[in-house]
């Protein structure tokens, strides 16, 4: 049940964060979406041995997290979900790739070690970049951005409904789980004998709710789509924001900045 409660709390927290009155939050969602997408695209395009290049990509995150006043500690929680598969994939690299890359004080660093650390760093940065996007942009704004990309309106309406009713149904699932736990103390999870009836009841209630939702939407003049609008539009700032970051990522990817700095310092 803690899982459900945490999920509800996270959703509310994200909503609160996204509605803060700050210039980053008022940027056009498409600008933030494009920058995040291009950032991740540039990040994963680095070679698996290019640890320096990947490390430098963290500067964007440092700047934006400071500007938007986002807690890194809370963001780190998000990483546990996806890091498992990344670790599983990368953990074998040090055992299979023995090619010596460098030596630091007698300690041999192999290609496998570098590729594993680079992979994990890529995973962490990508999650942090997505986290920055979601805490500075509400789901309505993201849907508005997707609407600008001409995604079908009914599809976007469906996404908004999933988001809205997710909280309602999560609360319902929490109530069901709590009632079950109180009747079956000390038991981990739901017993197999009631798998069908427990989730089935939730499903039937959801379908009935969908009918009520549809009828109430019709009464409020629903014609198949929701009208998505943004309160504050900062078009010129948004364009500038997107342009600057995309150019930085592009040139950073083309020019090995760290290598050049090393050359200048004579390393």
């Amino acid at each position: 049940m803690n899982k459900i409660r945490n999920a509800i709390y996270e959703i509310h927290h994200m909503d609160d964060m996204a509605t803060k009155d700050q210039w980053v939050r008022h940027l056009h969602p498409l600008a933030k979406l494009f920058v995040t997408f291009f950032y991740i695209f540039t990040l994963v395009s680095f070679s698996k041995y290019d640890f320096g290049g990947v490390l430098g990509m963290g500067i964007y995150l440092l700047i934006m997290f400071c500007v938007a006043d986002i807690s890194l500690k809370r963001a780190a929680r998000q990483m546990r979900i996806i890091l498992l598969l990344t670790i599983m994939v990368g953990i074998a690299n040090p055992f299979l790739d023995h090619q010596v890359v460098t030596k630091i004080g007698g300690f041999v660093i192999t290609g496998g070690m570098v590729s594993m650390i680079t992979l994990m760093l890529k995973g962490i940065y990508a999650v942090l970049a997505s986290y920055f996007l979601i805490v500075t942009t509400s789901i309505e704004q993201i849907c508005y951005g997707l609407q600008c990309l001409h995604l079908p309106k009914p599809f976007l309406t469906m996404i908004l409904l999933i988001y809205r009713y997710m909280i309602v149904l999560l609360k319902e699932a929490e109530r069901i789980s709590l009632s079950y736990e109180m009747r079956a103390p000390g038991q981990k999870g739901i017993h197999w004998k009631v798998w069908g009836s427990l989730a089935g009841q939730l499903l039937l209630r959801s379908i009935d709710r969908a009918q009520v939702v549809y009828e109430s939407m019709l009464l409020r003049g629903y014609d198949g789509t929701f009208q998505l609008r943004m309160k504050k539009k900062k078009t010129s700032t948004s364009v500038l924001y997107a342009l600057i970051w995309i150019l930085i990522f592009f040139f950073y990817r083309r020019i090995p900045v760290f290598w050049l700095i090393g050359q200048m310092m004579g390393v």
Binding site: I4, E10, M14, T36, F37, F41, V44, S45, K48, Q78, M79, I81, I82, L85, T86, G90, A92, G112, L119, K122, A126, V127, S130, L133, I134, I139, P152, P154, F155, T157, M158, I159, L160, L161, I162, Y163, R164, M166, V168, L169, L170, E172, A173, K188, G189, I190, W192, W195, G196, A199, L202, L203, L204, S206, I207, A210, V213, Y214, M217, G224
Partner: protein, 333 residues
């Protein structure tokens, strides 16, 4: 099985986005969301249900661990494969944008691995094939377990291929596949059992909610069955029972015989002669027999032929009426 951004290269991510977008466009065309506005809220609430239900832990007997519901298969069994696929995209998008569960760049790959196989292979192929004729709890169980296991195996295999194509890991193909497939076989089995339990409950409580469920009333025949029975009856009655037909005059003939002493009236004049000649020429089976023969086979043959001709004429009249009706509707528009 949500893939992170770090596990895919830009080329693989782009390819998977294109594949998933193609499947999404096709589904949008099939579902007609712009016309069927009722489907949108149902899909939205069902997507929210899958999300909420996946948060509930179902304990696996004897293992101490727990599993959760298989979203793609469940949605396909209720909404159908196309609407189910679109709903799953919505769920994955919300998971990605709200919980950072699965990467933004890897979203195309995640849609393919989890929604495409679940809805198109699990729903459109397995569920559809199993429920083609009728629906039963046994069939629901087989379809759910087979669907979940197979789609999860395909999904896990795709993850392996996508990761290897991205050149992320040093793991050899065989080792990677050998690690991924057995884990997902166990997960698939558990998810299949949970999905079976839920779908069987729905089948008991509200079967009309399930995709491809058709209510059959006792003794009610299908259209094809009705036509078949009627055709069979026509052949038996026309071809067999006609042999036992009475040779006595019918009601009119009987009355005429009583009045005039003969069952047929004597007719004279040019028009009667012309009409008689035309009838003699067109009647291929005069008096329900072959020409110039009194054989019983002629009576049977004429019974069958008569039935066929009447059926053809009736069908032709029906088609003509429908044709004129369509014309009228078009004129009104």
């Amino acid at each position: 099985m949500h893939m992170a951004d770090a596990l895919v290269s830009p080329a693989v991510a782009g390819t998977m986005y294109v594949c998933s977008a193609a499947a999404m466009t096709y589904s949008m065309k099939k579902v007609h969301l712009e016309v069927d506005t009722k489907k949108v809220p149902v899909m939205g609430v069902m997507g929210a249900f899958v999300f909420a239900a996946q948060m509930i832990n179902f304990s696996i007997p004897g293992t101490g661990s727990s599993g959760h519901l298989c979203g793609g298969m469940m949605l396909s069994a209720i909404l159908g494969p196309f609407a189910g696929f679109l709903t799953m995209i919505g769920v994955l998008l919300v998971q990605c944008l709200l919980f950072a569960d699965g990467g933004l760049l890897a979203l195309g790959a995640n849609i393919w691995n989890m929604a495409f196989y679940g809805c198109f292979i699990g729903g459109m192929v397995i569920w559809r094939f199993m429920m083609k004729r009728s629906m039963s709890k046994k069939k629901i169980a087989i379809a759910s377990i087979l669907g979940c296991v197979l789609t999860l195996q395909l999904g896990a295999f795709s993850v392996t291929l996508e990761t290897l194509a991205s050149k992320i890991t040093e793991l050899p193909f065989a080792v990677f596949v050998g690690t991924m497939q057995p884990i997902h076989l166990a997960i698939g089995l558990v998810e299949g059992l949970i999905t079976t339990a839920v779908l069987c409950f729905i089948y008991d409580a509200r079967p009309e909610l399930l995709w491809m469920y058709e209510e059959k009333e006792d003794g009610k025949l299908s259209y094809k069955g009705t036509v078949g029975v009627l055709a069979g009856a026509a052949v038996v009655i026309g071809g067999l029972f006609s042999l036992a037909a009475s040779s006595n005059p019918d009601g009119l003939e009987w009355s005429m015989k009583k009045v005039s002493g003969s069952t047929e009236l004597a007719s004279s004049g040019i028009f009667y002669q012309i009409a008689h000649k035309i009838q003699a020429f067109t009647a291929i089976l005069p008096d329900y027999s072959f020409k110039g023969s009194e054989a019983a086979a002629g009576t049977s043959f004429s019974g069958i032929i008569g039935g066929v001709i009447v059926a053809v004429v009736c069908l032709a009249v029906c088609f003509l009426i429908r044709f004129f009706k369509k014309g009228k509707v078009k004129n009104c528009e």
